[in-house]
Subunit: 338 residues, 2 copies
């Protein structure tokens, strides 16, 4: 019997990663900026290319891949029973007749993903990136003992993976967790790539901070910590809104533990944590007492490991849990997108 | 073997009901305004009295009760491992140093419930009233075939029962579904009994409409349908906020179907339905397409039947599903509270 070899894909609004693993752990990982031009299947074609490159780095032929686990931004929709993406941070065609999506040079309204991947691989499992991340934290990270936990990404977009009573929520189309699109302030001038005014993602995501203030989230946070009061005001307001979103989810789901990850959070956790906690504690004590907010444990690789966890044989897990074989994994960054 | 006899309790912010059933169906039901004065165990003592009266009506001795199912308003908290209520619509002590709770002539901050009921009954199962209602709709009503469904009550308070992937959510303390306390408009002058400003319950619940406008929800709705434009404005705004709450839950949970019940809804469904649908459809189509909003099927008895369903032998269910033996059940209304 041939050894089982897995591929994972992590498709985000800013970057795409492909990794290869066997039972011993991840063997190779390549990353590239996510393609945003060309035909709507450009994302799927880029995914196939990155898997091929990762295979070459790992020294395994693409034909030896047994299963592909995919963690992707969403929401998802289905065309001819095959899953694709209706993702506001990739699809330039979602808001029509508007200049909002100038940073997305395409008119995509649906990105076929499952069909493209299945043209080459028989076993493909696609889940929301935050669902995959939460799966990783449940299997290997900070939520192993916590049945009522929520993973949060604060990155290009805002997304959630929701676990209640030990059950990771999917919903009717696998779109549970898209609470980044909950509307919090319809009077705001912040508009989301999905078209909603004043939803959580509009108010705080990396992409939307850039669009609103003409500076990257990284620049805004860097200025805030060096004493720029305007930038600090933006940071405090964003943290307050994210805290509001966490409270609203806690009131709906009776969550015990929020695990936060994503590029915006990762670099500024120390600044953001007390702001989030303060907003949470300002609401109804019966629903907020004992709620903990903490950083995700698996850090930058959480969605990649989550994608592996979606397709991994259960018997691999105890060993990965102990050895954490992703530590020391080398990532190859490819410059050109496309 | 003695026949199995069940008691159910439905504890709401305005009324309490106790019912008795055997395998053949409900035998008797008594209703009384919920006690709001006296010691904090007054609620539990009233529950024991109502069960005794319902037993007398049904012609069975209280000692013959095998199990008690309880559907109650919440949130819940625990003292010495026993469940009690921290319910904003019953506990006058939750907001301290404030005149908000003038309609609650007590200073309760915790209502012991499980301990009082267990003093008399060995088997007691307590669940949130909307969780019980959703259980009833999943077992016997409109959500039998729908794994991604949410029950909503629009009544004295606002509450939800949440089902995702066929799993009814409980959360760490059984408080999942308290999304009536999600904050939607912190700039509002509407304050909730829980202390939150601008949460969904503050904006639309029957109790809070009464406190804000000095007229009961029934009066406001009656005036609206007979052409009073101010009242119609209040109704439209309330429906818009509830629709916003439903959308926020749909974005978080990928819900297919919302089932609405409760006294405010029940009498005005025709007026409210298009307003809720319009608000839902105004948001991100990828998350709202195919979402259905409909009335709960089991109507006024939904929480009573749900409380029975929490403790009912599974083998009773198919027969109850077919015969709907609660139809024609006589309710005895008791005048005095206490």
């Amino acid at each position: 019997m041939a050894a089982i070899i897995l591929a994972s894909l992590d498709i985000g609004g800013s970057k795409m990663a492909a990794s290869i693993a066997n039972d011993n752990g991840p063997l190779a990982r390549v990353v590239q900026a996510t393609v945003k031009t060309g035909a709507a299947d450009a994302i799927g074609q880029q995914a196939l290319r990155l898997i091929a490159i990762a295979c070459a780095e790992a020294g395994v032929p693409p034909a030896s891949i047994s299963r592909v686990g995919v963690s992707s931004c969403g929401p998802f929709a289905f065309e001819q029973q095959a899953l694709g993406l209706v993702a506001p941070n990739l699809c330039g065609g979602i808001i029509r007749g508007d200049t909002y999506n100038d940073d997305l040079p395409n008119d995509w309204t649906f990105i076929p993903l499952e069909a493209v991947l299945r043209s080459q691989f028989a076993e493909v499992v696609i889940d929301n990136d935050c669902v995959a991340a939460l799966t990783a934290e449940r299997c290997f990270g900070a939520a192993q003992q916590e049945p009522d936990s929520v993973y949060v990404t604060w990155s290009t977009g805002i997304g959630f993976g929701l676990c209640v009573d030990g059950h990771i929520l999917r919903g009717k189309h696998g779109n549970a967790g898209h609470a980044g699109h909950m509307v919090l302030d319809e009077t705001s001038d912040a508009v989301c790539g999905c078209g909603n005014r004043g939803d959580l993602e509009a108010l705080v995501s990396g992409r939307n901070l850039q669009k609103r203030y003409g500076r990257s989230a990284a620049d805004i946070f860097a200025a805030a910590v060096t004493g720029d009061t305007i930038s600090m005001g933006i940071v405090q307001e964003a943290a307050r809104w994210l805290g509001r979103g966490l409270y609203n989810l806690a009131s709906a789901l009776d969550t015990r533990c929020f695990l936060i990850g994503g590029s915006v959070w990762r670099h500024h956790a120390g600044l953001l944590m007390p702001l989030l906690e303060s907003e949470m504690q300002s609401q109804f004590p019966a629903l907020t007492e004992g709620v903990r907010i903490m950083g995700a444990e698996l850090d930058e690789l959480v969605t990649d490991i989550g994608a592996f966890a979606l397709v991994m044989p259960a018997e691999w897990m105890p060993d990965w849990r102990i050895r954490k074989p992703w530590n020391g994994l080398r990532t190859t960054s490819l410059n050109e997108a496309g």
